[in-house]
Amino acid sequence: MGRDAVVSPYAGRVLRLEQATYDAIVAHAKRDHPDEACGIVAGPAGSDRAERLVEMVNAAGSPTFYEFDSSDLLQLYKEMDANDEEPVVVYHSHTATEAYPSRTDIGLAMEPGAHYVLVSTREHGNNDGPVEFRSYRIIDGEVTEEEVDVVAHLPARSTT
């Protein structure tokens, strides 16, 4: 490897998000601070395209825990099923700690195909200002951080 090579700290996996989706997730996290905010970004099954943001209610209404409401969860999955979608991103915020999966997050991560996004609002709370925004794969208890690539628009869908 050449001395000038740029070495990514990640294993090559990338979450690609539209700026508008990124901004909406950050806005949701700031709005719900000091409680944790949560939601998903759905996309066509197998496409890895984070296209449709769905903000969910945190039924736990807590600064240290989040859980999708049970009937909302069923409606969401039925809707995705009908659209042939899957949860490409599952996001939630941490409001007092870093944007890294907690032990509970890891134990309860049940979507091996999803990008788990963590946003930390600990620094600026409800106010303007930068947030930590990081993404992970969580598979069988193993956490792998990945790059977040924010783009103006997702590339056009392949028509083949």
Binding site: I40, T64, S70, T104
Partner: protein, 90 residues
């Protein structure tokens, strides 16, 4: 008596990749035993210490079984059962 059971992605390793399987049982508990007979290992992912796991949601005809008696919930031919892991964390 056939009841359709929708299986979440994470448990499809037990159903050979099938999104939905048929099972039988007059109660949810009996249905899960029947699932286990055909898809060994799946019961342990649904039940812990004789009760439904806290972070596994099961619905019968769109109703959360926690409001229908849990494992005692009665089932009839043609019912649809959906299993969904909670989306939750800390």
């Amino acid at each position: 008596m056939a009841i359709e059971v929708r299986i979440p992605t994470i448990l499809r390793t037990y159903t050979g990749g099938e999104k939905s399987v048929d099972a039988e049982g007059a109660s949810l508990g009996a249905l899960i035993d029947d699932l286990e007979a055909n898809h060994p290992g799946i019961k342990e992912r649904l039940i812990d210490d004789g009760d439904l796991r806290r972070f596994v949601n099961v619905y019968v005809n769109d109703e959360d079984v926690r409001f229908l008696g849990g494992l005692e919930a009665t089932l009839s031919d043609g019912d649809q059962v959906v299993v969904l892991p909670a989306v939750a964390g800390g």
